[in-house]
Every structure is written in C-alpha cells, then in structure tokens.
C-alpha cells in the first residue's frame, strides 16, 4: 500500500486520465495513418459523415453497457433486443396502422421490458449474467425470426428515416445528435445520480455496497433496463437508417459495443467507469472499420482488426494497472524462470507437432483432383 506522504509519481497523476489516453492515442494513430495512406478519400466530408452515422448507432448502447459492465455484469442480448423491438415497431406501423410517433416510444418501452426480464432472470433466478443474457439473446432472436418469417419490412414514415439518417442542413446528422445526447445523459447519470454512484460502488465492492444499505439487485435491474431501452433505441435508429428491418439485423451489436466500452477503459472487473472512454471507443471502432473500407481491404479483415484492437487495448490497461511493472525484469526475464522454460518447451512442442504434420502432409501430397 502506498503512503500519501510519498510524492505523487507520474503514474499517479496520469491515473485518472488513463481511460481516455488509450483510445485517443489509437484514434490519432488511425488519423495519422490515413492521412498518409489515403487522405483525400478518408477526410472527405461525406466520409466523415459516414463515420459519425455509423458511430451514432452504437453510442446509446455503449452508454448503457458502460453501466452494466461497471456493475461487473455483461449484456449479450442487445443485438437481438434491437432487432426484435425494431420488428415489433415495424409490425405496429405497417400492419396495425399505429402512428409512428407512438410506435417509436412503444419500441423503446418494449426494449426496456426485455431488459427488465434480463435483470430479473439474473437477480431473482440467480442465473449468471453471461449465461442469462446469452440465452435471452437466443430467445429474443427466435421471437424476431418467428414474427418476421424472413420478411424484410421496409418503407417507413419520414419521422423514422429522420431519426435514422436525417440531416440538419449545415450541421451533423440527427442520429449523431441523438447519440451524443445519450452519451451526455449517461455521463450525468454516472456522476450526478444515486444510480451512477451505486453502479460504481456495486462494481467496486458488492459486499460493501450491501452493507451500506444499497439495494444491489434493484440497481442491477435498472442497468439492464437501461441497456434494453438503449438497444431498442438503436434498433429504431437502425430501422430508420436502412428504412428496412429484418429478423437477422444487428447481428454483432453485442460484441461491437462491449469492445467499444472495454477499449474505452471501463474495467470488466467492475468499479472503473469511463463514459468519455466509451464515446472514444465507439468512435475508434467506427473510424477503424471505415479506414479498412477506404483502403479497399476485404470486408472480412474487419473481424481480425477488431479482435486485435480489443486484445491490445485490454492488455495495455492490464499493464498500466500493474503496480510492479519492472519487478519481474520484463518479458525476456520471464522466459528464464523455470515456469517460463516449461511454457517455452510446451509452445515449441505444439508448434513442432504442427510443422511435422504439415511436412507429412506435403510429403505424401498427390495431385488434387477437382471435386464435382
């Protein structure tokens, strides 16, 4: 334990800003790289607009997910909640003639209800978050498929397309305004309300929260309800953006949003929240994916790039939070220890077997006969 009398080290002074440094450094890196590689196409106004439009979709969910993850939870069902609430809204408008001004709030409330179900399953039935929301992801997706039966519901009233892709002349797109508004609301919620305060307390020390009389379960449910409502809002925005919705929409929302939040410095181990970081994380992922498209790299590399960014940023946070950074003498020294040697031999054996198998395969290879 450090004593407060010791002069504050550089690290201690940086500590509060660590969350935001990582994603900003990576955003700068993307900007610099694209500035060299493809400046004209990447920095076109229309392209920047595209980046913002893409990011806006994820902002509400990243805001809500920040609360869930700070409470040591996780919500894997947001993609399906977005799709199901979008489809329910589409049915209300197209089949039952509901006014779009009523259907949109109904969709968001339905999302909140799905979040409530998630929360109750986790807190009342004691199903772990990971399994509970993964299972409910299947349930909600299944309902969406049952309802839509593979149909694509399209062509909605103007209000919806305005939400999804409208533009205030000379200003940013409407969804971007909605996204930023939810992030600001999330920031205020986190720092100025009981809910935000207790969210951090629950994630930081659940026993202490319980002992000081905080209703841990109730605030967990609140977080999942918020997550559900924001997922539904994203579903509404997606429907408006594409002017169409189908049961298989929004497939990877959950992982994309969790990635953005974690890249932004919110700790998966709870207690450490950064709304600004989540905002930066969302921007970073959208900028990166757009950069890959601009560089005409095959679409499938997006998945590789996202994974690499997540692993490297989480590893960076883990390293920065390690107190004794040079105690072990660095990476190479770790290989000298008996345990490191064993690991080295194990890895070598694994790779050796693989090479041997490849060699055998190559040695006995025959002319491949085209099949079919």
């Amino acid at each position: 334990m450090t004593t407060a009398t010791a002069p504050r080290t550089l690290n201690e002074r940086l500590e509060p800003y660590i969350a935001i440094i990582g994603p900003i450094a990576m955003i700068l890196a993307v900007l610099v790289f694209m500035g060299i590689a493809e400046p004209t196409r990447y920095f076109r106004t229309t392209n920047l607009n595209l980046i913002l439009l893409d990011a806006a979709l994820y902002m509400p969910m990243a805001m809500a997910m920040t609360f869930v993850i700070t409470q040591r939870g996780i919500d894997l069902s947001i993609g399906s909640i977005a799709a199901l609430s979008g489809i329910l809204m589409a049915f209300l408008i197209k089949q039952y003639g509901f006014s779009v001004y009523v259907a949109v709030p109904i969709a968001i409330m339905l999302g909140a209800l799905m979040g409530l179900i998630n929360g109750l399953i986790i807190t009342r039935l004691n199903v772990p978050d990971l399994i509970g929301t993964l299972a409910m992801d299947l349930v909600y997706r299944g309902f969406a498929l049952v309802l839509a039966k593979g149909l694509v519901l399209a062509r909605f009233p103007d209000f919806l397309t305005d939400i999804g892709r409208g533009q205030i002349p000379g200003l940013v797109p409407i969804p971007v305004l909605i996204g930023i508004a939810t992030m600001i609301a999330g920031y205020l919620l986190l720092t100025r309300t009981y809910f935000g305060r207790y969210t951090i307390a629950i994630g930081s020390n659940p026993e202490a929260a319980e002992l000081t009389g905080i209703s841990v379960n109730r605030h967990k449910v609140y977080a999942y309800v918020l997550c559900g409502a924001c997922a539904a809002l994203a579903g509404v925005m997606l429907t408006g953006k594409l002017n169409a919705i189908q049961a298989t929409s929004a497939p990877y929302f959950n992982l994309h949003v969790i990635a953005a939040v974690v890249v932004g410095g919110t700790s998966l181990f709870g207690g450490r929240a950064s709304m600004l970081g989540s905002f930066a994380g969302v921007l970073l992922l959208s900028m990166m994916i757009n950069a890959l498209v601009t560089l005409r790299i095959e679409f499938f590399w997006q998945s590789v790039a996202s994974g690499v960014v997540i692993v490297s940023s989480v590893a960076l946070y883990a390293w920065m939070q390690k107190k004794d950074r040079d105690g072990a003498g660095g990476w190479l020294a770790a290989l000298q220890t008996p345990d490191g040697q064993k690991m080295l031999r194990f890895s070598a054996a694994l790779i050796g077997v693989l090479i041997a198998l490849l060699a055998i395969g190559a040695a006995f290879a025959v002319d491949p006969t085209p099949s079919g």
């Binding site: 407060a4 720092t191 100025r192 930081s204 202490a208 002992l211 009389g213």
Partner: protein, 251 residues
C-alpha cells in the same frame, strides 16, 4: 457506577445446534472504550453482530440508555445510534473518499425539480468531519480511496459512522489487524478522540497491546460465555491471557 449506555442481558444465540453465545451480559458506558477479547470462536463477532442488528438474539434483552431495544436489521441499529466499522471497512475502492463517506446516505440537491447528488457539499462535509471529529487531513480528496493508506481508509470508514449525529455507540471490529505500527498508533489515537467526544466505543481486537493501550475495561469471551470483565488499569496481560485460554478454570 452510573447506568450503562448499552446493557445486554442474558444474550443467547444459537445457530441450529451450535450455541454461539450462552447467556452473555455486556455493559458499555458512554465515554469509555470497552474491549472485547477472546480466542477464535469465542463469540466476539456474534455478540457485536447481535448488538448492531445483523443477527437477532435467540433470547435475552438489550437496553440503550435504559430503554429496551430490539433491532430487526443493521439499518435499524444505525437509526438508534449504534454503528459498526468492519474489519474490511466496507469501502468501495474506486470511489473517492467523499463518495465513500456518504455511500448509501448521499447528500442531494434539487435542480429544476430533479434530485441530483451534491458532490460539492459532500466534499466539504467530508473535509470538515475528517478534520473536526478525527483530526485527519487527507492530501487529496480527488484520488480514489484505493490510493489511501490503511489508516486513512480507516479514518474514512470511521467518518462515515460518526457523521450520523445521533451516533452513540461505535463498534470496531479488528481495526488494527491489517495495519503497520504507525498506522496502528494513529488508529488508536482516533479511538481515544472518539471516546473523549462521549461515544461508547466497543473494540474487538486480538492484539492485547492495543487493548491495554486504549481500553478502559476488558470483556473476555471464552467459548460463547463471558468469563470476566476486568478494569484495564487493575490487570495485567497475564491475567487477561489466563482468562482467554481458561487457565484459571483448569487450575
């Protein structure tokens, strides 16, 4: 002797077939430090958990200032002015000291009909309570609580208990167990400060040195029973040790 502030009479607590407390009496005066000592499993923690409302006694009665009391929960006990500082301190390490001090009891203000947390006032109040009641000044109220030293964390946890104006009895469970010598001395000083302010402090400790340093009377538990209450000034470590291990009983 004046009427004790806290009076527990004939407290018995059974967990299934196990009798954790057997007919225990306890008295604590305002403005004194009562130490509770005993071996592991002697019933110290159970006894104070009954007092703080975490457990309910199987039988027996309690009085606060002559009035009979019974608590259905810990929150109930806090309402009556009895609070505890736990060994784990129950602090949320990622929050700043002010947020921790008011955890579960936040100060709020109303802006345009919306109730929001008053972070500014919580800070100034934290600073005031730490300084006035405990004589502690933290270098920074911005840093998360995890960056504070053990003694400072203790001070924040104690400040949380003493902020409640009606606090009359403070129970401290092993406050010095995880502290170094310097921090221990500081914590013992805090206990003396609280005692001078007229609180009844009940201290559970394994460290007889600390107990003899700070307490006025020592209540010795052994196998769920109270085997003696001695005045600290009139006894020695040997006497108390004898009571704890039951040497006199055996002799």
């Amino acid at each position: 002797m004046t009427e004790p502030l806290v009076k527990m009479r004939g407290i018995t607590k059974r967990f299934g077939g196990v009798t954790a407390l057997d007919n225990v009496d306890l008295d604590a005066q305002a403005g004194e430090v009562l130490a509770i000592v005993g071996d592991n499993g002697a019933g110290k923690s159970t006894l104070i958990k009954v007092l703080t409302g975490v457990y309910q006694a199987t039988s027996g009665e309690m009085f606060l200032d002559g009035q009979p009391i019974s608590f259905s929960s810990h929150a109930d006990a806090i309402q009556h002015g009895i609070d505890a500082v736990y060994q784990t301190l129950a602090l949320a390490d990622h929050l700043d000291p002010a947020a921790n001090m008011f955890l579960g009891n936040e100060l709020t203000k109303t802006i345009m009909g919306v109730t929001v947390l008053d972070n500014k006032r919580m800070r100034t109040e934290t600073e005031r309570v730490l300084m006035e009641r405990l004589g502690v000044q933290l270098k920074s109220l911005d840093a998360p609580t995890e960056s504070l030293s053990g003694g400072q964390r203790q001070a924040v946890a104690i400040a949380r208990a003493v902020y409640h104006d009606g606090l009359r009895v403070l129970v401290m469970d092993e406050p010095t167990a995880a502290l170094g010598p310097q921090e221990t001395a500081r914590t013992l000083k805090l206990i003396k400060t609280l005692k001078e302010q007229g609180l009844a402090v009940i201290l559970i400790s394994h460290s007889l040195d600390d107990v003899f340093d700070v307490s006025d009377r020592i209540h010795v538990q052994r196998r769920g029973r109270c085997v003696g209450v001695v005045k600290t000034k009139e006894s020695t470590t040997q006497d108390v040790l004898g009571l704890i291990v039951g040497a006199e009983e055996a002799a």
